[in-house]
Amino acid sequence: MKRRLLLLVPLLIFAVLVVFLYRGLSHDPSARASAKLADRFPAFDLATLDDPDRRLDRSLLEGGDDSEGEVTLVNVWGEWCPVCKKEMPQLQTLADRGVRLVGVDYKDTRDKGHEFLETYGDPFDVSLFDPKGSLGFDLGVYGAPESFIVDGDGFIRYHHTGYITPDDVEQVILPEIAKWR
């Protein structure tokens, strides 16, 4: 009897393997946890898109003069990024709902950046100009658009890679922001 049961061991191992591999099939390989969650927003020293002489650092997100502990959505965009254009209406919705937005014009030129905001609207409190992608790199950005929800103390609480769909606004972004307010 004991011998008979031992014969079932390979079958069991096989069954476990099947379940494990089957789960892998429905798993999106590009979806993975961000390394930056619960980290302080990386330090930066960048000019704004509007004014090359106005330099900002991360106190912008850490309850400085006008943010006062406000939850902020930092959106990384670029004129070269077609999906960013499709994302602008959703960002406008968020701004209309009272969310503070900070843009990062990533690997772009000033002219192109201005052109983009003139064409698709400007929902941002301010846009940082990151032509070399240095802030983007420190944020672990590997494509645009990407969005970060930063709490009032300047810690990253949520990282959205890729396009924010109209459904995401209500179902993901707003609840996440509410969580950290």
Binding site: P29, R32, A33, A35, F137, D138, G140, Y142, G143
Partner: protein, 175 residues
């Protein structure tokens, strides 16, 4: 026959050509240059160990994507600043997560991943050892009196059959 022989000779040459082609493609991407050949060597190794976060399965040394280029530039800059390999890998993991490393680091979360193959070898070896020891312990088996008589009978019958010429190999005889 001669053709297959020729193909057999050609195969290593084809393989060699393929290898040379792949290195040429890699070299085309790389624009980092180092004064110190040791640094260049470490750069090559790190480029192969770090995974491009935008790609499905490409090292930053093999990928053309912009982020892979940024990462190569950062690796090169850190190397020139005297950073260790571990520091560079750490900086990449800090930004892009464990995904950035082809070989996950050994830590509390990954001990099973690294340990399992060794664990399986130990378990398998243990099972084999158990069988061997058991068999040794059992020693040579002796026959009971009845078994001995049975065996003697079989041998006697076999010998008797061999003595009959021309019929020893007839398989139909016993049936």
């Amino acid at each position: 026959m001669a053709v297959t022989r020729l193909l057999g000779l050609a195969r290593p040459l084809v393989l060699l050509a393929m290898l040379l082609l792949t290195t040429a493609a890699q070299a085309a991407i790389d624009v980092q240059s180092f004064d110190d050949p040791a640094l260049a060597q470490r750069f090559e190794a790190l480029s192969g160990r770090l995974r491009c976060p935008k790609c499905q399965n490409e090292s930053i040394g093999a990928s053309n994507s912009p982020i892979a280029g940024d990462m190569r530039a950062r690796v090169a800059a850190m190397l020139r600043d005297g950073a260790s390999d571990a520091e560079i890998e750490g900086a990449m993991v800090e930004r892009f997560g464990d995904y950035a490393l082809y070989d996950p680091r050994f830590e509390a979360r990954t001990w099973l991943l690294w340990g399992l193959p060794f664990g399986l070898v130990v378990i398998g070896g243990g099972i084999v050892a158990l069988f061997v020891v058991r068999r040794r312990r059992a020693g040579p088996q002796t026959l009971s009196a009845q078994e001995r008589r049975h065996l003697d009978g079989l041998i006697a019958r076999h010998n008797a059959r061999d003595d009959e010429p021309g019929q020893a190999d007839d398989p139909g005889r016993d049936a």
